[in-house]
């Protein structure tokens, strides 16, 4: 579904991504794990078109999307739940979700998808009229994921869904990610510092270190890998 080939991204003179290549097969959950500053968020922002690639290619369903503007990338079927959630604080939960469906015109389909989001995250329904900024961190994360789902993406990019959230809620949110992947068949690219959680739900994993992919493999195998255990799983 998604192929990234020899991607280079620079921030000014600093090279953030140094020629990475990876693939995300249809209906799978793929994770990019790595420390802070490894280039995980930059990778997702480049796929979404917020950051320009220096060189390399991003192919989505076989089509080159490397220099497509962000709003068209959403139309093609890629949406993102960004790092730090980026909820619109003064818009209500409902308005946030409607913004997620901004490019859609099928009122009925939008309504159905909203119902689905409410069955996955009943708490959002309870808070429907509340301003996004008044939600707790965990609720905001649920809203960020639900909002990203509202564009009916075939590929969902999840940036650090565990960031700054109580451990119990992290567990819940990861269960929901698996549930969405199973229910809707949405392909997922998950970026995480919490490697244990990510490797637990992903099918395939890549380890990113200072802009380069150093390891890749089946998520279960990587979880057993000695280096990964030492560096990312704290064993």
């Amino acid at each position: 579904m998604l192929q990234v080939e020899h991607l280079h991204v620079n921030y000014g003179a600093i090279s953030a991504i140094k020629g990475i290549s990876f693939t995300v097969p249809e209906r799978s959950i793929v994770t990019l794990i790595g420390a802070n500053g490894a280039g995980k968020t930059t990778t997702l922002r480049t796929i979404s078109g917020l950051v320009k690639a220096e060189s390399g290619k991003i192919l989505f369903k076989g089509k080159d999307i490397t220099s497509t503007p962000p709003h068209q990338i959403v139309s093609l079927g890629i949406s993102q739940s960004p790092e730090g959630r980026m909820i619109f604080p003064e818009l209500t939960v409902l308005e946030n979700l409607k913004m997620g469906a901004y490019r859609r015109k099928d009122t009925k389909g939008i309504q159905e998808d909203m119902e689905y989001c409410f069955t996955v995250f009943p708490r959002l329904k309870e808070r429907i009229k509340q301003a996004g900024g008044t939600l707790s961190g965990g609720e905001q994360q649920m809203l960020a994921i639900a909002r990203a789902l509202m564009s009916k993406p075939s590929l969902l990019l999840l940036d650090e869904p565990s960031l700054g959230i109580a451990p119990l809620l992290v567990k819940l949110i990861f269960e929901k990610i698996v549930e969405i992947n199973r229910d809707l068949g949405t392909t997922m690219l998950l970026v995480e510092q919490n490697a244990a959680m990510a490797l637990n739900i992903a099918h395939h994993a890549y380890v990113l270190e200072t802009g380069e992919i150093t390891l890749e493999g089946n998520a279960r195998d990587l979880a057993q890998n000695e280096e990964v255990q030492k560096a990312y799983l704290g064993m």
Binding site: L50, P70, H71, S75, F88, P89, E95, Y102
Partner: protein
């Protein structure tokens, strides 16, 4: 007491005009985080659009109010398109540059409009008399209190447009997108919002309101010239800062406050101080509450 009420009426009608200008400053600040210093000159162009189009319209349209309404719409449309063009040509190419670059460009655009306007075959540097769109008559008189038909029109049109703006911003999809964009630009692009289109729309609405303000201003003060936008523009800017820049209700509140303060000063102290009081308020607000009366502080939850 009557004199006081009279000053309030005069102040609010002046404030309503400032509000139409201030809304443009505050909306554009909301989406792009910079002050469009050319906004007062867009306002000036709005008055000239009315001046030039009135003779053409008054031939084909009969009743005075219909013509006045057509002039208002023409000024709004013309200013709206001018605002969109300015953004497209002058500000968009600088989108990722430091804000100071854009700010200086805005001052450049402002001077360009002011001094191009003074060329003889454009508007000319001399004062022109704006056509009498509506005959001034006293709606209320006697008992020392007067309310002119021009003031009633100012109130009705200004408040009507503000309510319309509120519906657009709060209820329509593009209005909600405008607010989303002002809260977080990258998150808005991630929603699939074409941010450039929303920015153009914001410039259109903000500038069209300035065009409406210009028409109302010229009805009340019919001497127009290419520098007429400078002072009302600056005062509306002060009003937007007073209310909290980026805050739409704040701009309206600030404008009514500034308008009233100005007429009160002119009436009770001395007309010489009417401009000084406005900038005095600006200094006070910048010292004591830089975020404005209704504005939020600079702290944002991340």
């Amino acid at each position: 007491m009557e004199e006081f009420l009279q000053q309030v009426i005069n102040g609010l009608s002046l404030g309503a005009i400032y509000a139409l200008i201030a809304l443009g400053y505050t909306m554009i600040y909301g989406v792009l985080r910079f002050i469009n210093f050319a906004h007062g000159d867009v306002f000036m162009v709005g008055a000239y659009i009315g001046f030039f189009i009135y003779p053409l319209l008054s031939e084909s349209l009969e009743t005075g109010y219909l013509t006045a309404f057509a002039v208002l719409l023409a000024a709004m449309l013309g200013c709206g398109l001018l605002g969109v063009t300015i953004e497209f040509l002058a500000y968009r190419p600088l989108r990722n540059r430091p804000k100071l670059t854009v700010l200086i460009t805005a001052i450049g655009v402002s001077l360009f409009l002011e001094y191009t306007g003074q060329i003889d075959f454009v508007f000319g540097a001399d004062y022109k008399t704006y056509p009498t769109l509506v005959e001034r008559s006293a709606v209320l008189s006697g008992s020392g209190l007067s309310l002119g038909s021009d003031q009633v029109i100012v109130f009705v049109v200004a408040i009507g447009l503000m309510l319309l703006l509120r519906v657009i911003v709060m209820k329509t999809k593009i209005g909600i997108a405008m607010r989303a964009l002002s809260m977080n630009l990258s998150a808005a692009s991630l929603m699939g919002i074409n941010t450039n289109r929303v920015i153009s729309f914001t410039f259109f609405i903000g500038s069209a309101l300035a065009g409406a303000g210009a028409t109302l201003y010229a009805i009340s003060y019919p001497k127009i010239n290419p520098l007429m936008g400078v002072l009302p523009g600056l005062k509306a800017f002060v009003a937007a800062v007073l209310g909290g820049i980026g805050n739409i209700p704040g701009a309206v509140f600030g404008s009514f406050f500034i308008g009233t303060a100005e007429t009160m000063t002119a009436g009770y102290i001395s007309p010489t101080f009417r401009d000084a009081i406005v900038f005095g308020i600006l200094i006070l607000i910048l010292i004591f509450k830089p975020s404005g009366l209704l504005g939020k502080g600079g702290v944002e939850k991340v």
